[in-house]
Amino acid sequence: MPDQPFSTRLYHLTQRQRHWFFIAPALIILLLVVIYPIIFSTGVSLFRVTFASQSRPFVGLQNFERMLGNDDFIQTALNTLYYVVFSVSGSFLLGFGVALLMRRVTAGKELLRLILIIPITMAPIVVGLMWNWMLDPLFGLVNWFLGLFGIPGQTMLAQASTARMTVVLVDIWQWYPLVFLIIEAGMATLPRAPFESARLEGVSSWMIFRRLTLPMLRPVILVALLLRTVDAFRTFDIVRVMTDGGPHLTTETLSLYLYRTAFTFSKLSRAAAGSILMLLFIGLVSALMFRYLYRDVEVG
């Protein structure tokens, strides 16, 4: 209203825009810690920057070309894909199975659940170190146990053929409880009436599961898959302490490879280009999953 005094107009403005007073501090920090790095990486990836040299020539998309044409990068990208596929599907199936089994027990349920979720509370690096010890070819419990059945000591982490799957199994060991927790929480929120009426109508358990449980759990399942995919994609800690990418890059993940490119080989621009590629890829994957998810969940 133009006829209102300035103080009144100011008051109305602050009333309408009051949410910014609450949000601005958090938003500014988030822009600094998230948007700035992305812009920085994009910028750096277009130049040739190393920690050692002062000159920074503009090289356009050359870093991206070099990365995509680099066998090691392709190899680690494929390794990462392998982790994502096997760790996500393994932890999902196991977690879902445990959630279903958990509905069939009564006594001791709380205790069982508490024990089962211990792995997700552990630092991944601690998990990795612990399994190093378990898998030690000389004194590890796993080989000792296998020895009881006459199976000779295995060096699972040192062999290219087994190292990758071993790391994936440890990752599954740590993260299937997360899927279990999410699915269990999702099942707890399902309405009872449809299940009771289906049972009254004599529908078989399998059909109830296929036609009622699974469709109703769809959003929950998607959240579990989304979180696991994102986490498996960035795997670093466990691999770093268990194999450090070896033998011969067979277990090296993208995060580890880019870390090494930047900090061991000081190729900052290459690493930045690689991390942008990584971000684009995970952004694309999660955007697709997100779209699918938002079809049935109303957020915000």
């Binding site: 938003l27 000389l138 979180l227 670093f236």
Partner: protein, 279 residues
């Protein structure tokens, strides 16, 4: 639901096996922390021995474990405190005020969960380096530097979790206080915050666990002065020899507080781990 006995027994058997698969590595590893050095790597494993605290003494004092513990506490506690101070007001606004960009902003916050830490760690390392060289502002290997960086994963989670807690309360609660003579901030402070306090505690605990277990960003951005407990765990591996007893002593120091906190938090755990997307 009625479950046939055979099915129930099968469920118990499988679940107990799963529990054993969790407990055996955790416990067997942990007792190594109490073994004297000569039986750290005995094979077959020694199960009966006289427990000793010498490994803990060694890592805590000789290897300065108490410094790393202190560093971890400062970094985790500090970054959770900062995340709460910044995140709680923002969460309140998202829960209460209708504004055009609110939904898009909340979705953007979830999307931050997707960003691989390398994308953040690398530029931060470079930025800290340039700030130090160019402006003489030292953030590398400092507590503030790490605390700021940790906001990438703590702040979005705090906002999402707290928004859920605020949204559960009727808006009439603070509106009532506003009609009764308080400003919105006064109402927030005297009425709303006391009510959501349990939610703040739950949010703080979960975020503390994430910060406490964090390894990657610390590896890149921390140094001698700010090394955290997870970082030191790796120092007990030397190519030729692993000091297993000492390593598991460190592992226990990292693990035990988190397990205790998890038991306290178990009801709120899912909400936090899933960003509350499923509310």
């Amino acid at each position: 639901m009625r479950v046939p006995t055979s099915e129930r027994i099968l469920a118990y058997v499988i679940l107990i096996v799963m529990a054993i698969l969790v407990l055996v590595p955790v416990l067997a590893g942990s007792i190594t922390a109490f073994k004297p050095q000569i039986i750290w790597v005995s094979s077959p494993p020694t199960w009966i021995f006289e427990p000793t605290l010498e490994n803990f003494e060694f890592v805590f004092f000789t290897r300065k474990g108490w410094v790393y513990l202190r560093n971890s506490l400062i970094i985790s506690g500090g970054s959770v405190a900062v995340a709460l101070i910044l995140g709680v007001p923002a969460a309140y606004a998202f829960a209460r005020f209708r504004f055009r960009s609110s939904k898009a902003l909340m979705q953007w916050l979830i999307s931050l969960r997707m960003i691989p830490p390398i994308v953040v760690g690398l530029p931060f390392y470079a930025m800290f380096l340039y700030l130090e060289r160019g402006l003489g502002i030292g953030l590398r290997d400092t507590f503030p530097g790490l605390i700021i960086t940790y906001q990438t994963f703590l702040l979005p989670l705090v906002i999402w979790m707290m928004r859920g807690y605020f949204a559960e309360l009727p808006a009439a609660m603070e509106e009532s206080a506003m009609v009764e003579g308080y400003t919105r901030l006064g109402a927030l402070w005297r009425v709303v915050l006391p009510v959501v306090f349990p939610g703040i505690v739950a949010t703080a605990i979960l975020n503390f666990i994430f910060a406490w277990n964090e390894f990657f960003l610390a590896l890149i951005l921390a140094g001698n002065r700010t090394s955290t407990l997870p970082m030191t765990a790796g120092t007990y591996i030397v190519r030729t020899r692993v000091e297993w007893g000492n390593l598991f002593a460190v592992n226990l120091i990292i693990m035990v507080p988190v397990i205790v906190l998890t038991i306290i938090l178990r009801r709120q755990l899912v909400k936090g781990l899933t960003f509350g997307i499923l509310e």
